[in-house]
């Protein structure tokens, strides 16, 4: 049986990569500081594109 978690559920509802990554990082227990670092990278990456 393949497992389906609340994270999978919430990620499926997200509208973009940023939201997806936010859910994922939170599920991985990232602290505020680290979460901010990661999300900044995502935003910067999006800007470059």
């Amino acid at each position: 049986m393949d497992e389906y978690s609340i994270v999978d559920f919430l990620m499926a509802l997200t509208e973009d990569n940023f939201e997806k990554q936010t859910i994922k990082l939170i599920s991985e227990g990232y602290t505020d500081d680290l979460l901010l670092e990661k999300l900044l990278e995502i935003i910067k990456g999006e800007k470059k594109c």
Binding site: M1, E3, Y4, I6, D8, A12, L36
Partner: protein, 716 residues
């Protein structure tokens, strides 16, 4: 290993208390165990105590019937509970224990030990983070599926709150950047500073040329107008003198004419008084001497006004006087012919001769009298004839007065004539001089006003020239010299051609413009100083490590807020509608977001159920539609929940409770009343629990079902 004990003292009557403690089920059990037993053997009580001891009465995902059972254990009115239990992992050193030692208090103390020796207290919030207490009695699985949604709602909320908290952290970070060196603000300040400095420079460039032009125009205009008014002043002064002299001449001539007229009038007055005096004196005398034939004319005489200055009346007086003189003279001639009068006259003449010798002692011997005596004798003789003398003398006196009256009348008539002539002359002079006098006075007034204005202008332009730095002595010097001071400039020349009023207006306007520019300069200097200070202050501030990501942080803040909003509000509402069974298929038709959410929930529930038995086959759920109450399987079958056997649906439900991914919390699973499930239905549940146990995710698993006798079966 589960070790436990408890005591329940329950009041069952007025003086009866029943005491319950575990006496059928062993007080030590394996970590994964199936308990079978008859009613009142303590199976459910054990599960209730374990769940209560692990904050089960506070967990919203445990159904209300079980919550009520747990809370009834704490009801101190009819029963008193004491308990303690300890769950020790067989696979590591984790121990969790709970106890309630005071039967009268609801206080429960939960502790954990990670090393098997040292315990520390655990509060509900921390317990929730580390342990997942699953306590269920799957009596009606069809109705119980929404329970999963409550669990989903709780977890969704947890994520929503976590994201919201993170949003607050981002907001705080943004505020910190704003309080520290705000690069955006610094950039703004620098731009404003540059802008203000450029404005100032533009004005600084414009001001000198404006000032120079103003100075040239002022110099040229003020010098020119000063000389103009100086010349005007001189002309007006000359004219003023001329007018004054002309007025004075008129005054002098006028005064002479009037003086002469007054003298004549005064003379006429004096003569009139004299005439009246003589008239009044002579009139009674005339009355006494005039004969009857003249009485009529005398009546006219008496009616004369002695103070008259009328020419005709004066003539009448003169005529009457002449008539009286003539009459009196005739009378006097008659008297003089009288011998007596002759004698008297002779004697009078003699007396006059002798008068010189009146006191002489010379004696006339022949007459034997002295001259004195002779004089006396002659006087006596004359005294005898005195009346005729008196009469004559009276006539003579009257005539003298009348002649005097005539003389006065004559003189008066002459004076009146002269006065009349002088009056005519004065009137004629007055007529011609008055107009001229008036014109001259008007002109003088005008000239005086103009002179005053010219004087004022002179002083004004003189002061202005001095203020411009032109030396006073140069201004007092010849015009040719001062001309050198007048700037030669085409624009100034053009401007001066517009006339004094326009030139002065131009000067005022220019002064206003320059003043405005200077004010603007001062305002700009203040603003520049403020921006400079702000710039220096901002530069001195320590930079925040994220200051260069200010914009990105704001984007993150907006995005995470939106996400938390969706989880805590929009999706939460959708989920509540599902839980409350108020969502209808029609609600989803025009709402793409709700449709998507509903589809994902359906998938989520299917994954939670996973594989399940139905009739004689095992299916894998693909979606669970809680509106239609159906399960769509991976192979495309549609199974109505109502068609599923109770045991099968219980099994599916218990599996859904255990199918939890990405959750590292230790599971404590307590399942009551699973008797409806047969071995085939229970098998996937056992397998799942074993799998979780060996993955160290299940700390304790207790399944309870009804049996005829106590039977404890370890599943590990």
């Amino acid at each position: 290993m589960l070790k436990y004990d408890y005591v329940i003292e329950r009041t069952t009557g007025p003086s009866q208390i029943d005491r319950f403690s575990p006496n059928k089920i062993p007080k030590e059990l394996d970590n994964l165990v199936l308990i079978e037993g008859p009613n009142s053997s303590g199976k459910s009580t054990l599960l209730n105590i374990i769940a209560l001891g692990l904050f089960g009465n506070k967990s919203s995902k445990i159904n209300s019937a079980l919550q009520a059972k747990m809370n009834s254990l704490l009801d101190a009115k009819h029963q008193k509970l004491q308990f303690s239990f300890e769950i020790k992992s067989d696979l590591d050193k984790l121990i969790i224990r709970s106890k309630k030692t005071d039967p009268n208090s609801s206080e429960i103390i939960v502790e954990e030990s990670l090393d098997g020796e040292n315990f520390s207290p655990v509060i509900y919030e921390n317990f929730e983070k580390k342990y997942n207490l699953i306590y269920d009695i799957p009596s009606n699985p069809t109705e119980r599926l929404p329970e999963l949604l409550k669990e989903l709602r709780d977890e969704q909320r947890q994520y929503g709150n976590r994201i919201k908290d993170f949003g607050m952290f981002v907001h705080y970070t943004i505020q910190q950047i704003e309080k520290s060196r705000d690069l955006q603000r610094l950039k703004e300040v620098e731009e404003r500073l540059k802008e203000q400095r450029e404005k100032k420079k533009t004005i600084e460039d414009e001001l000198p040329s404006s000032r120079d032009f103003l100075n040239m125009l002022q110099k040229a205009a003020f010098i020119m107008y000063y000389y103009h008014y100086l010349s005007e002043k001189s002309r007006l002064e000359t004219r003023s003198e001329e007018i004054k002299k002309a007025i004075e001449d008129i005054d002098k001539t006028g005064r002479k004419v009037v003086r002469e007229k007054i003298q004549e009038k005064r003379k006429i007055g004096e003569l009139s008084n004299k005439l009246a005096e003589n008239y009044n004196k002579v009139t009674p005398q005339l009355e006494s001497i005039l004969p009857k034939k003249l009485k009529k004319s005398f009546t006219i005489w008496k009616e004369f006004n002695p103070y008259t200055i009328e020419h005709d009346e004066l003539t009448d007086i003169e005529i009457e006087a002449s008539n009286y003189i003539k009459y009196i003279q005739e009378e006097m001639d008659e008297i003089s012919k009288n011998p007596v009068y002759k004698d008297v006259s002779s004697i009078e003449r003699i007396l006059d001769l002798l008068k010189e010798f009146e006191y002489s002692e010379l004696r006339i011997s022949k007459l034997n009298v002295t001259i004195q005596d002779l004089i006396n004798i002659l006087r006596e003789e004359n005294e005898k004839r005195n009346s005729i003398i008196k009469k004559y003398k009276n006539y003579d006196n009257i005539n003298r007065i009348l002649n005097e009256i005539k003389g006065i009348v004559k003189e008066m008539k002459e004076s009146l004539e002269a006065y009349k002539k002088e009056s005519v002359a004065a009137e004629e002079y007055s007529k011609s001089s008055d107009l001229k006098y008036s014109q001259l006075n008007i002109e003088l007034s005008q000239v005086t006003n103009e002179l005053e204005r010219a004087n004022k202008k002179c002083r004004e332009y003189h002061s202005r020239c001095i203020l411009l730095g032109i030396e006073a002595k140069k201004l007092d010097g010849p015009y040719a010299e001062i001309l050198k001071e007048i700037p030669k400039n085409e624009h100034v020349k053009e401007c001066l051609a517009l006339g004094e009023e326009n030139v002065l207006k131009t000067i005022t306007d220019l002064e206003g413009e320059i003043s405005e520019k200077q004010k603007e300069m001062r305002a700009l200097e203040i603003t520049i100083k403020q921006y400079q200070t702000e710039k220096e202050r901002l530069e001195k501030l320590e930079p925040h490590k994220y200051e260069s990501f200010y914009n990105e942080l704001n984007i993150i803040y907006t995005k995470v807020n939106r996400l938390s909003q969706k989880l805590l509000s929009i999706y939460n509402n959708d989920l509540n509608n599902l839980i409350n069974n108020t969502l209808k298929e029609d609600d989803l038709k025009n709402n793409d977001n709700s449709r998507k959410y509903f589809d994902e929930v359906s998938k989520y529930l299917a994954h939670r159920i996973g594989n399940f038995r139905h009739i004689d086959r095992t299916y894998k759920a693909k979606t669970v539609n809680l509106i239609l109450k159906t399960i769509i399987t991976e192979d495309g079958s549609t199974i109505y929940l109502s068609d599923m056997g109770t045991g099968q649906s219980q099994s599916a439900f218990l599996l859904s409770l255990l199918n939890i991914k990405n959750d590292n919390r230790k599971i404590i699973a307590l399942f009551d009343e699973i008797a409806m499930m047969d071995d085939i239905s229970l098998k996937p549940v056992y397998e799942k629990m074993k799998e979780l146990y060996y993955e160290k995710r299940l700390l304790l698993g207790v399944l309870v079902q009804k049996g005829n006798e106590i039977n404890i079966k370890s599943l590990i």
